[in-house]
Symmetry: C2
Amino acid sequence: MTKRLGYLGPAGSYAEQAATVYDKNSEKAPYPSIPTVAKAVENREVSAGLVPIENSLEGAVTYTLDLLIHDSKLLISDEIVLPIHHNLLVSPGTTKQDIEVVYSHPQALAQCRKYLENELPGVELIAALSTSAAVKLLEKERKAAAIGTIRAAEIYAAEIIDSQIEDKANNVTRFVLLSENDSEPTGNDKTSICFTFDDDAPGLLYTVMGSIAKEGINLAKVESRPNKLELGRYFFLLDLEGHRTEPKLSRTLSTISSEVSELKILGSYPQHS
Amino acid sequence: MTKRLGYLGPAGSYAEQAATVYDKNSEKAPYPSIPTVAKAVENREVSAGLVPIENSLEGAVTYTLDLLIHDSKLLISDEIVLPIHHNLLVSPGTTKQDIEVVYSHPQALAQCRKYLENELPGVELIAALSTSAAVKLLEKERKAAAIGTIRAAEIYAAEIIDSQIEDKANNVTRFVLLSENDSEPTGNDKTSICFTFDDDAPGLLYTVMGSIAKEGINLAKVESRPNKLELGRYFFLLDLEGHRTEPKLSRTLSTISSEVSELKILGSYPQHS
């Protein structure tokens, strides 16, 4: 169905891996940021765009949440959960003893902290804009290493010295597919919503959660983000089990809409098993 | 009371500004990261440590939340809310026309995006580890600017070209003071707690919120963080109005403790007005 798939690039990123897992055969197009992925879907350069929304160690990808809340009318039409494995890459011929500096995205550096302390003590750690950008730097630098994907090693002809160097085994990222429309019901769906209140937000959140509980709807996730107008005022993001067109959920959404000052339905889509 | 105050450095950071607002007269000591501030308090190098916990535009400072949840027994003993004003700094003599690159912390660059697009179109933006580190770079670079504090301009003898260059006026950061003990009751206090569940977390969150509502306790904040063991499992952080020694809150905390699998009280402290 998906003809051309945009993703958070550059080539060799974890989002590209997720895009390949999602749809091996479609053409893929990298974009430099989460907003530009969304813009490409809105302009119909691509039929859908894949961006990270949550990592099991780092938590929410706030750029994606804020885009969905404030800046886009796109809907979530699917989710993909990808195990994240980090690798230590170097220019061909460079050995572990040669390494004086390690480049990567700050999150990847943080996720391999213990490995780096044990295997490369005293080495300088330098932040790059993405893991792929870090691997690209190896083309010019011999005394450096980068933390990145196997795919980035292929693209930039780097050598993999060590693989699965992440400190914790359960490093998993959830990606969402952004599209003009969400998905048809499959019988095992999830619906993401966000809302805000004019005042006394957390107390009113309890009212909304009551409306959800009363219908016996399973709440899969609660997240808060600043409303960007005032400290202490939030948007709440909830994931509810079920499709928005199912009677029970549809009824609940209309109740919630009367309890909040602004409700945005972010899409119904098949639940990752 | 506080003799020596640690803060998230380097000198010239927004945390140093907050430390000065909090206690003008105490000696101040910068530390390079949020964990090292906490470690300095634990080792009694300083009597308390000041770290950011939440920004009105960016949301939670997840390092601080994760430290409180997982890695420290320190308590929150106070909070300070600081308006954030960004400034464009250069080496003395450099003019706006000379600027080819702007350094700053990625959040500061993001918060001044519109100003940069309008005033310095096409200029290269480069991430630095902190706003102060960015200002320090100006000592060596003439064709560069940095976004930072007035205090950093003083420290590194930089010139302020433009002030209050942030895109949104309501840019405010909340800092917390980490100490071995929390605060005595003042009659206008707040208590921060965090907890997790063995399973079905969001449904059980509703139970906990019910226990809070039943006692008529005002809930000031709800936040979730990954438990770092499994995707979809969270720690919830709640701010409750009142001091943990007040009968109503003390009763509620013991109820909550029976409803969750792990409850950690992060401290009671005077509420910022």
